[in-house]
Symmetry: C2
Subunit: 449 residues, 2 copies
């Protein structure tokens, strides 16, 4: 188990210029941890450490560095060294890198790539952001249907070196149309002279280059895949997406949902690496929208000034009432939004969800208002009518909040909007208005204000 | 691309009892889609359809069925058929199934398993929930260090049939201590006579049976693994976790966080399959806690009755003020909670986070209160002091909300509590109290109430 890295020991080797020893130590570590170590170093030392890496390992480590460090290293190595790295990088890693780097650096990188690599990278850079094309890799193993298992294994042994994954092989015809899929397991478990044609799986899952990367990741989760073929509009195989990239996509998409559901514009970088102004920019817009809606709620409240001027005590229950309504509503909307994100709930379930939320909200509403009523009767003896007003309003608020909260995300989806915006913040604002209207209408009736 | 399933055609084959045709059609489909199809059928037909499946496929499909359907099918097949399925299931799938089934059914399943399988299943059932042991599988390929590449490939070809993944092989000694890891890629790219010892990777990542499954999933994301070895406290290899199970864990853990952050007790089953009473039970507890905290806020508000009795208009700004504070706070807490969940933020970043949130909140606060001030001056001419009161309170509220929102999740973690509870609902309730105190203190000063 090698999760622990002795940063001190390694740092010491650098400061004492003991590069031979360092080279040995690093060569024993895996690329992720080496990258973590290099990130910790002051930039100039980072380059020194990077230079000590054996040729094969350098590119793997490079792919795991932050774009800032990548940029610095590119700036401090010569074209020859750069060329080696670019050629060794998997195309999808190279593309991820170039998308982050300033144009001038990108130019230099492409200048030092072979024409083929350059053509491939340029092609990849053209796929829309968040598309299958943008996360696929071109390093896959392709076979022909008339090969034997023996041929296939020979072919893999010959070409496997620079393939990101060799475990699923793709059978294509002369026009590169994808005919079938063969796993290395199939190959190993078949006779040498058996023909690929006979063991290939012809009803495989595939996606097109323009497919949304989130949908691609869902296919991995649904079918337990290690890789998925990406074809162009004519069914020609152009690349594959590997499970490790799908895992990253799942994590990023979940993070984006968390951010949207908290009324923020999702940010590109991790929190600690995002600037103060960007963070502020991402948050202000929605807060403004919600604040203005909040003003509307305020003006509704204004209509009842007479009521709470006559009975100021009523005001003291407003926070409890609106907060509980908001919380009850966002519980429901959260479950539905997440349910849709993982494809457990679809738009056709609208009625089922509302019916379920209606029943749940009744149970919850009764429990909460009962507790509330008892507590008020105890703390404010002689004010049973006020206690009843609060209890009744609370019940109605919870029921409306949960029904709305469950329905709005699905309705948003029906209108092709992102369900995630129908989360806590917006639901709370909407429910506030309802709860206050209910509260004071009940008050006016029961307390004759 | 076979994501489309012709349910109608297949259903027709069943109603017309055309089982031969059905068998052919199903055999062409993959297990996930067959399971989806069977789930759609009325239970009795589900068994009929299931029975038509070829022996090999039956277990794979069975593993993909819901526990309800599994239970029904087990109830309607004979012990012999059951025995076949149990033996064909991968141990981890069998265990997942048994954890859902009623004791009586579990007994019958175990009765029909071979002694070895039964022992293995029982052992797996003893690992704590959410531990690496509970999601690992016992079907892995083990090699010895003195084997040659040729031996190893032969070994895989002989035993690979019932291995869940053959792509990463584990090198163990006579005491089953894990010495190293060899990928099939390594094997294929090495000479036949080369010894395993020389190509195996000895600094591999491994986990113990009791490791939290969420930590295991993180290792997959961090190191781009296809499988990870699970060892007991003596370093003996007892099983492996495969990436497809890690993907499921990631999805479930994210869902749990969404639920916790919306003040709910995470539910075992998907929303649509969860009963009304369970849903209500999962939601009431937190709503009660928050409602009672809301009452405290109310009593704070009570102290200022004189103030808003004298100037009822002040009340109309309360919802806007408290909601904006709540939203601003939960934006910050959400980013920090998620940041910690994906290990981008750790407890040592507390000060960095607070300093960042302080600066962000200043920017956001200035923007919001400026807009608010202008709007109030326009709508309520002559009430500049009230406008100023609201604007100043809003600024202070946003700053406090964001600083608290950013800090509390980390502080919770410091006290070994789950950061996810410091999300929107609790933050809102806490911020409410602060914002109201600020609001009315400022009002009393500026408006001499």
């Amino acid at each position: 188990m090698e999760n622990f890295i002795d940063f001190e020991k390694l740092g010491e080797l650098i400061s004492t210029r003991n590069y031979r020893e360092l080279r040995v130590k690093l060569a024993e570590m895996n690329e992720v941890n080496i990258a973590l170590f290099i990130e910790e170093l002051p930039v100039e030392k980072a380059t020194v450490a990077f230079r000590t890496l054996p040729k094969g390992l350098a590119a793997d480590v490079f792919a795991n560095l932050s774009s800032d460090t990548q940029e610095y290293i590119i700036g401090s190595i010569n074209d020859q060294e750069l060329a080696v790295i670019v050629e060794d990088l998997f195309v999808d890693d190279a593309v991820d890198m170039l998308e982050e780097l300033p144009a001038s650096v990108v130019k230099r990188v492409l200048k030092n790539a072979t024409p083929d690599t350059r053509a491939l990278i340029n092609q990849f850079l053209q796929y829309p952001e968040n598309s299958a094309g943008s996360i696929m890799t071109a390093e896959f193993t392709d076979l022909r249907r008339n090969m034997t298992v023996e041929d296939a294994i020979k072919h893999i042994r010959r070409t496997g070196e620079d393939r990101e994954t060799v475990y699923t092989c793709y059978v294509i015809d002369d026009r590169r149309i994808l005919d079938g899929v063969v796993t290395v397991k199939d190959l190993l478990l078949s006779e040498d002279d058996c023909s690929i044609e006979n063991i290939m799986n012809t009803n495989f899952v595939s996606v097109t280059t323009l497919e949304d990367r989130e949908e691609v990741a869902k296919l991995f989760a649904k079918y337990d895949l290690l890789s998925i073929p990406v074809v162009d509009h004519e069914g020609r195989l152009v690349g594959i997406v590997t499970v490790d990239d799908a895992v990253d996509v799942m994590e990023q998409e979940a993070t984006e949902d968390f951010e949207k559901m908290a009324a923020m514009i999702p940010s590109e970088k991790p929190y600690l690496k995002t600037g103060v102004f960007v963070l502020a920019k991402n948050r202000i817009m929605w807060l403004l929208v919600l604040m203005i809606s909040g003003m509307i709620t305020g003006s509704i409240l204004g209509k009842y000034e007479a009521a709470f001027a006559a009975m100021p005590m009523l005001v003291t229950f407003i926070p409890m009432l609106t907060d509980t309504g908001g919380n009850a509503g966002s519980q429901s909307s959260t479950l539905v939004i997440r349910g849709m994100a993982v494809s457990e709930i679809s738009t056709k379930d609208l009625v089922a969800v509302m019916w379920k939320e209606l029943r749940v909200s009744m149970l919850v509403g009764i429990a909460l208002s009962a507790v509330n009523f008892v507590r008020l009767v105890i703390t404010y003896p002689g004010n049973e009518l006020i206690a009843l007003t609060v209890a009744l309003s609370l019940f109605a608020t919870v029921v409306i909040a949960k029904t709305i909260g469950g329905a709005l995300p699905i309705i948003a989806k029906l209108f092709k909007a992102d369900p995630a915006i129908m989360a806590a913040p917006l639901i709370t604002t909407i429910v506030d208005a309802f709860s206050l209207i209910i509260y004071f209408s009940v008050a006016e009736k029961l307390l004759h204000l």
